[in-house]
Symmetry: D2
Subunit: 135 residues, 4 copies
């Protein structure tokens, strides 16, 4: 079976949107993932702050990497995100995904995103379905 | 006070990420919004299907347009999305945001995204904070 | 295989908490359920209004009845509820659960609770895991 | 202004449903609360395990105590709960509510419930509206 690093490299290689986001994988292990990313101009919304869809997308990508790294293919079913603070152009974001629970077919994960000053900008919770298909 | 159309034109004009998404506003009214969008290559994930972050971003943009169209600036606080079906390259998405409830400072909305064949691909629920600041 | 009515009668017969809630099943079908219930004194919180846990419990019971009525045992995994309006002593609540999506192992449902005047007091979304065990 | 202990005593004194639940407050501070509770027969569902509505109600009560303890009255707006493990009759539950974020009008909290063996049975996230009304 492939290692967490091999699986995530394979996922990222074909993940056009995560590439567009400029995701850098800092750490990956079974059920855990850390990502870094910098806020670019095309990520801003009509208030000139980071679009909530970007924080969500980073969280959802981190969820995908952390949950798939065991070797079974996992799909996000239900997710929620609380937006806590505004984020500005050029801010560096640190995304950490941790496992709350993993049973036979269901995994539950939390993702926290922080700015360089350590302040939390969003808190995400995601439920995945664990399939029997192997990477 | 500006009309819903004027507010949304103003929001979209400055919303770099919604422009990147290729959002077309089909209908806008106080508390309600319809959007169309086509799935491009850079919106796909490592499974070669639409990244969940795109469905979320379309829903969150629709939420922003529908909730801000009354004239007061609104910010998304807490949102959730259920991913129901896979979406492929070149699929056309129809995004409909409707109001569940609007009180003095809190508004709650639901967003459904459907494919051209009418099948629902995601269901979103969003809570916004209504500020006293006027567009 | 048992009918939706037989399954729900069996569930309710052994469901001490739903009995305590005073749940009346108005309608039941595969993936759909309607319940009625009256607000009693022991359901109020420290603000002298209905405790949010009661609206949630009614919604979660409705979810259980609607999702189990196909014949396979289903368990609630992830649920959310928006509290929209205050509810007072002796109010009659009408709980309606409808199916958003049902695949092989995952079902997604929405539950709306309304007062006798038709005003909505809560909106719930629930995800269940569909097991292979039969009622 | 009243202390966290005084506010929570006042809330609990009038909270018929939290009394019915048999809630014991173990610790209370601004934005933080710990509760203990034992699973009784009338809390079970049709599967003869703890009804998800009880885990939710304990979490929602903990949210109310933690968020109101600053002195301003707070109301739960939007909440979600993941059910992680089955709970049996006579299990002792330890409920811990912690603050994620508190701004002028919006507070966000997480609640974890654990059994005596330390295993987590549910994870809750709640958003409250902070009013200007004082306890």
């Amino acid at each position: 079976m492939k290692s967490p690093e091999e699986i995530v490299a394979l996922m990222l290689e074909n993940d056009a949107f995560s590439q567009w986001l400029g995701i850098n994988i800092i750490a990956i292990d079974k059920g855990r993932c850390e990502i870094k990313c910098t806020v670019h101009e095309h990520m801003l919304n009509g208030f000139n702050i980071l679009h909530g869809g970007i924080s969500y997308s980073l969280s959802d990508s981190a969820l995908a990497f952390a949950s798939n790294s065991y070797g079974n293919k996992c799909m996000s079913i239900e997710t929620s995100i609380s937006h806590l603070r505004k984020v500005a152009l050029n801010d560096t974001l640190h995304v950490i995904c941790e496992e709350i629970s993993r049973r036979k077919t269901i995994g539950i994960y939390t993702v926290s995103i922080k700015k360089a000053d350590g302040s939390e900008i969003s808190r995400f919770k995601g439920t995945v379905h664990i399939s029997t298909e192997i990477w």
